[in-house]
Subunit: 415 residues, 2 copies
């Protein structure tokens, strides 16, 4: 079917899914998880086709993301079952007011409608995104990267068996068949057919969406995150947080890419930073890209201008000496992607100045930027991290996948 | 100055305005209100220039919207003073959670940043929008229609005197100098310089924004609102609500444009409707545009297909007979703009089916659609009515002009 035909079918499913009760949705999720396990052989066979076609064409780390195993499929099923346990956001009365004329106004959470997700080559995104969509009452239209399409297709076929068993239309989860760039473009401009578009991918995809999407869209995922070590920092805390934020998982969006160090503590902090990030690490020592002034204190590559605007997603850290909290805030305003930034300080007024002035989704005092995550924030799960201001900011859990409507009850009131 | 230069200046003002305290903002509002009164002569002179240039070129009703008087200017000043009394949305902790690891996460309301508003020729929008922006900590960039530009400019010059007196940068309120279409286009695509775009105008402007805006944008204001008279309606209530929704102010977006009548009550309801809306009204009788079946019961113009997709904003009402709540819901899904719809019924299950299935910003049971309004909803004021699902839906008060950020405080936590 064409992308447009699939979207029209998806739209028709929303009148059944949106008002579905919590039990119906949870049943569907449990059946979907079972169906993944039952169809392990089909999914593995499809994944082998993808892997054979991709081998040699893509990097080893991308190939690793693509590869499934029965254990990984079980992990996906467990992920769906975890969503069952989360509270249903739909129908929640967010605000209630009775007006003097007697009308009662309830702001009530409702699904967005049809949610399209453009992603790349991690097959587990297929089941994660489908589970979050179903639980939040949203019909899900998936546009997988070409390298993982056979795997995604086998997963969606399994998930649809679960939907049918639960009495929901199989169109609640749909995979776009066209994997050319054209289908992404079609989703971005399918006004009236796509109620929310969530691109999950690299900077190129996000930029294409910002420039071309005419449907409602959430930017997710790029993170040039900063750790600012203040003059009043506890330097042990600073070191521990920086090491964690840079090296615990450098390929994710909440990893730190740049360390700003107050001039007053630079001579003391930088050498210990170098020891911890470079000298003490036998595996994966961090490459430091230093501003001119920090290069006078420790050895390292001299940073190019671009290094302060790059999401390395690797064992690389840009380092810059600053003169004040304000100087740090200005650097962040100019170079951050609005994801997560931290100040390390024991000075409450410095902390308050930083949290007030930094305009990012998550602003930390004395904690690692790695906490910007749906699970860590207590949302249970997430579809991604929004780096925009409109609608949702930071981790997008089930509540953030909903909108609201006002339901107003009266007994004949007129104005 | 060019539009781009004005936007850059506006961006620089946000670092002062966003963290400004409630007292500072309220003081500024009071000075702005005083300055409007003090500059009444200048504003009237500018308004005369606009009116002289427009007379004969625009309709009498548009000219009436454009004309100011000392009383209207006083009304604008009073409007600003009313905003002083409203609670400040900025800095409010919307959600607070302490995680098992001890980090405390606060979701905190913050301004959007620079808010651009494209509007037409009502000079009072200039001061209303500026007041709501300042109170919500947002820098305001106004793009007035050409016919009212001299008036808007005189108003902004006065408001800026108030800002300066309060110690805030005058760039907090800025009027775009270029009134060509090009400046609207520039605002729609000024990524990084416009944090929120709110078009306030007719269907053409909204369509242009949806198709061309690459900055975050809120659609406001078009309303094809429906009143559905159910089989179980109290027909007296239905008549009173319909007359109110259609005739109390037909030129506004929450006025009803279409009445759907259940087949079971059509023979009884339609003649009394015709009496109330047509025969009993000496001034402004309503023109009925009837579906074929209702035309068998009462006289009136036969509706064209387009009449069910038209925001008349006039004493015209489309009328259609439907077979059930579901039939009404389907008609609304196909023809509504997602603004406001009402069911008139004494049957709770019909009411629940309607409120569950209708996907509009405001869904009423036994009350007039005319209540969809910031003031009537208890928000104190509004910048417009959002008819989109993303971010804000329905009346946009001060809270809806804000976004949030997460502020996370720890004592060295790592992940």
């Amino acid at each position: 079917m064409t992308t447009r035909e699939l979207l029209i079918a998806a739209q028709s499913a929303k009148t059944t899914l949106a008002p579905a009760g919590t039990d119906t949705k949870n049943n569907a999720l449990l059946y979907m998880a079972d169906a993944l396990i039952e169809n392990t052989d089909n999914i593995m066979a499809a994944n082998k086709q993808d892997a054979d076609a991709a081998r040699g064409r893509i990097s080893d780390s991308l190939l690793d993301r693509l590869l499934l195993s029965p254990e990984r499929i079980k992990g996906m099923a467990d992920g769906i079952r975890e969503v069952v346990a989360l509270p249903d956001p739909v129908g929640k009365v967010l605000k209630r007011v009775e007006r003097p004329n007697g009308i009662v106004i309830e702001r009530t959470a409702v699904p967005m409608g049809v949610m399209a997700i453009i992603y790349e080559s991690r097959p587990n995104v297929t089941s994660d995104a489908a589970a979050l969509s179903i639980k939040s009452g949203n019909v899900c239209v998936l546009r997988s990267g070409r390298d993982a399409w056979q795997s995604a297709n086998a997963i969606v076929l399994a998930l649809r068996k679960g939907l049918i068993k639960a009495g929901l239309p199989q169109e609640c989860v749909t995979l776009i068949e066209d994997t050319s760039r054209e289908s992404s473009r079609e989703l971005m401009t399918a006004n009236g057919l796509v109620d929310l578009l969530v691109p999950r991918g690299g900077a190129g995809l996000i930029k294409a969406c910002v420039e071309n999407a005419t449907v409602p869209c959430i930017q997710t995922g790029t993170g040039i995150c900063h750790i600012y070590v203040d003059a009043a920092a506890d330097l042990d805390k600073a070191l521990s947080i920086l090491v964690n934020a840079k090296t615990s998982r450098p390929g994710v969006c909440n990893a730190a890419e740049c360390c700003l160090v107050h001039r007053c503590v630079a001579e003391k902090f930088l050498p210990s930073m170098k020891k911890a990030l470079v000298e003490d690490r036998k595996e994966n020592p961090v490459e430091l890209r230093l501003c001119e002034e920090s290069a006078k204190i420790i050895d390292g590559t001299l940073a190019s201008k671009d290094d302060f605007d790059t999401e390395f997603l690797d064992y690389i850290l840009a380092v810059k000496i600053v003169d004040s909290v304000q100087d740090a805030v200005s650097h962040i305003a100019a170079h951050s992607t609005g994801h997560s930034e931290a100040i390390i300080t024991e000075d409450a007024s410095a902390a308050n100045a930083f949290t007030a002035a930094v305009d990012s989704a998550a602003v930390y005092v004395n904690a690692s930027t790695r906490f910007t995550d749906g699970g860590e924030f207590g949302l249970g799960c997430e579809l991604g991290i929004s780096t925009q201001r409109l609608h949702a900011r930071g981790p997008m859990g089930l509540c953030e996948l909903c909108t609201y409507k006002y339901i107003i009850r009266g007994n004949g009131q007129i104005r």
